[in-house]
């Protein structure tokens, strides 16, 4: 056994709810996918390949949720992403012309024009519009370890009253990962880091060997974990649990003291979509459409209020590199202080939403790239859970506690007077589906209808909609989505019971909610 050394375990959780609206190319919420592809996933692939080209050691842990994978695979949505890039490029040309008399704004417009040209080349020439195989290829080449996740990102502690629902989220998530990415994942990203005692058995039954919790999920475990959050522990079912490091989280997440709050960084909220005359936006947002963000943002955070200084790319990216240097030095310092006292590698586990990097924090991908470069230069190992568990197969056995990474560490974001009707409805619908699953009715039009009902129930379980209702953003959309999936579920189950399945209606639902092609009713089991 080699001597311990400090290591960073960097995890990105890439997830979007299923937002597919076949009848409306300019649908506001479907735009989430296009923003994430252009601002987060393409830059992430690009930086990983650039690091590989430069022979920088890269071991990134990355979860791709099944809903995101389904959308990235979808030919309709891929075509729309291509057209969105063309529209962005057309807007860039107009912005370069519009800003020609203002050198500081003009420099930013030119920056966007060049950036979009690069993204267009990546999308069209390098990846040919197919990002899922690109991630699989990077995994196969040893740059990333991919994680599976819940089928539709259901918050499992609130589904536990229906064991079939929990098992379906895990089993469908694992099998969809294998189908789309060609290999089963060894690890599982628990949606919202939502854990409850006993969930480890469900993971173990799917041969999922490790997962992640928020710090207190492990730190408060019984018995007390010897190494706290600095090493994984095994659950009673043998699943390794890694815990989020509080300091590394705060450095990147905190809106007050985190790196992204630096005033030199680009401001997220001010966008020409709110500043330009409406007719100038028509080519981008469509005729008669409300204003929306375009991605053309010219200002830096500066301070609160709208009076903001113009963003300058070079100082901003230099600051991202400086922040990466600080991040790595802190990890090295902290693990260095632990390494002499531990008989295994002390870890700093740093999980983040992948969409933070590039969308919310524009300079985030530059930060990530610099973290790998700085870690290599500083001799800090960056590992994945697979690396870690193979090197250190022994760990303490503990029972982690019910927890999440949401506000105050529990379920209050997803269980509140504004959204607590959802777990009640989901519980009732699961009760309705269970007898059909036991009968294994999967053939003929009724079988198809039941599978589609199962699909609709999975979609209604998405944690995103309950979260939106609680956070108060696009609440009408979130409420309508849950109601729509639950209504479709009930409609299909009633039709099966009365043997009145309408083939055209069924086909229309299958086309609307067209994910998980290999779904079977047998995946809804206790």
């Amino acid at each position: 056994m080699r001597r311990p050394r400090g290591a960073l375990l960097l995890v990105l959780h890439a997830h979007l709810p299923y937002v597919r609206h076949p009848d409306d190319e300019d649908h506001l919420e479907e735009e989430w996918l296009r923003e994430a592809v252009l601002e987060c996933y393409l830059p992430l692939l690009d930086l990983l390949e650039r690091l590989a080209d430069d022979r920088v050691p890269v071991r990134l842990t990355l979860s791709l949720t099944p809903t995101l994978v389904a959308m990235l695979e979808d030919p309709l949505l891929r075509g729309r992403i291509g057209r969105r890039i063309e529209r962005q490029q057309a807007l860039a040309e107009r912005e370069v012309r519009r800003t020609r008399d203002d050198p500081s704004l003009h420099a930013v417009a030119r920056f966007y024009q060049e950036r979009l040209a690069r993204l267009a080349r990546l999308w069209t020439d390098r990846y040919r519009g197919e990002l899922v195989p690109a991630f699989a290829a990077l995994r196969d080449h040893g740059l990333i370890e991919l994680l599976a996740s819940g089928a539709t990102h259901g918050f499992l502690p609130l589904l536990r009253s229906s064991p079939q629902a929990v098992r379906a989220q895990v089993a469908v998530g694992a099998s969809e990962h294998a189908r789309a990415l060609g290999r089963r994942a060894s690890g599982f990203w628990l949606p919202e880091c939502g854990y409850y005692p006993g969930l480890d058995r469900v993971l173990a039954d799917e041969e999922l060997r490790f997962t992640f919790l928020d710090a207190h999920g492990l730190a408060d475990a019984e018995p007390r974990p010897l190494l706290s959050v600095h090493a994984p522990a095994f659950t009673p079912a043998g699943v390794a649990v890694y815990a989020r490091d509080p300091e590394a989280s705060e450095q990147v997440w905190s809106a007050e003291v985190g790196y992204p709050a630096d005033p030199v960084y680009r401001d997220f909220y001010r966008d020409v979509g709110w500043d330009l005359p409406e007719d100038a936006l028509v080519p981008m947002v469509g005729p008669g459409r409300p204003r929306r963000a375009t991605g053309f943002k010219y200002h830096r955070i500066t301070g609160r209020g709208m009076d903001k200084a113009v963003w300058e790319p070079e100082p901003a990216f230099a600051r991202a590199r400086a922040h990466a240097r600080h991040f790595v030095s802190r990890v090295k310092e902290r693990t260095g202080a632990l390494v002499e006292r531990m008989e295994r590698d002390p870890l700093v586990v740093a999980p983040y939403d992948a969409e933070l990097f590039g969308h919310w924090w524009f300079e985030g991908p530059a930060f990530l790239e610099a973290v790998f470069r700085e870690a290599a230069a500083a001799g800090l190992a960056v590992v994945t859970p697979g690396d870690d568990l193979q090197a250190w197969p022994e760990a303490q056995v503990v029972s982690p506690v019910e927890s999440s990474w949401g506000e105050h560490g529990h379920a209050s974001m997803w269980l509140d007077p504004v959204n607590d009707w959802i777990p009640q409805a989901l519980h009732g619908c699961a009760q309705l589906l269970a007898p059909f699953a036991r009968l294994q009715r999967e053939t003929g039009i009724e079988g198809r209808a039941l599978v589609q009902a199962f699909r609709e129930l999975l979609l209604a379980q998405s944690s995103d909609f309950a979260f939106i209702l609680r956070s108060g953003t696009v609440t009408a959309y979130a409420r309508a989505r849950v109601q729509s999936h639950l209504s479709a579920f009930l409609e299909l189950v009633r039709a099966v019971r009365t043997r009145t399945v309408d083939p055209l209606r069924l086909q229309s639902l299958e086309r609307r909610d067209a994910l998980f092609p290999a779904l079977t009713l047998s995946q809804f089991r206790e």
């Binding site: 390794a240 190992a381 209050s412 009640q424």
Partner: protein
Amino acid sequence: MPTPRSAGTVTPRRAPAPGRPVEEGFFEAPTAPRRPRRAPSTAERFEPGPFALPREVGTDAPVLLVRDPTTLFVFWDFRRELERGAALGLREPRLLLRLHRGPDLDRTLELPLAARSTYVTGLISGQEYTAEVLLLGRDGWTRPVGFRSAVRRLPPGRVSAQLEVRMLRLPWSEPLSGEPVPSAPSAPRHEPLDSPRRVPLPTSPGARGPAGGSDQSGGPRSGRN
């Protein structure tokens, strides 16, 4: 895009100190503040939600969900025949929710007859609870509706006082479930990712995969060392 949901965008705090060994060699790490959000009062929860299930859907027992270390959400939607059976012969029935902590009665709440859920606050973290719903007649007779709920244990909200250390060695090659590892489906066809500038990826024409010694052939190296 939905806003990030991880906690951490909270009030500024001083940077936590690095983990340090404390009693008997145990390490500790400062974890995020876990003060529960203000728990909803029971009065907030009697309006029906925006989605109604058909009446034939029903449960036999109340369901408990953990909201935070001191709050449970209890809901029930009994089948109609259970409700009718319980109400039979009771005059002007009222609805009672009894919450038990372990084997002991913790509290009894009287709720509107039409209530289908409630939050129960001020509970003791780390304790096990069950709930049952009853109807109370004007003459003082009570009758249970359905069964008692399953047991739910609230999270402890603090580090454990148990200091026992039991280690497990679990080699990576050993299956967890005791069953053969499920085989992967046939790999999807990956289109080649070719670019003269980029390192050859496994799907690029003429490229060798990692097993073929990609490090020597110019491919990226693993971070493992």
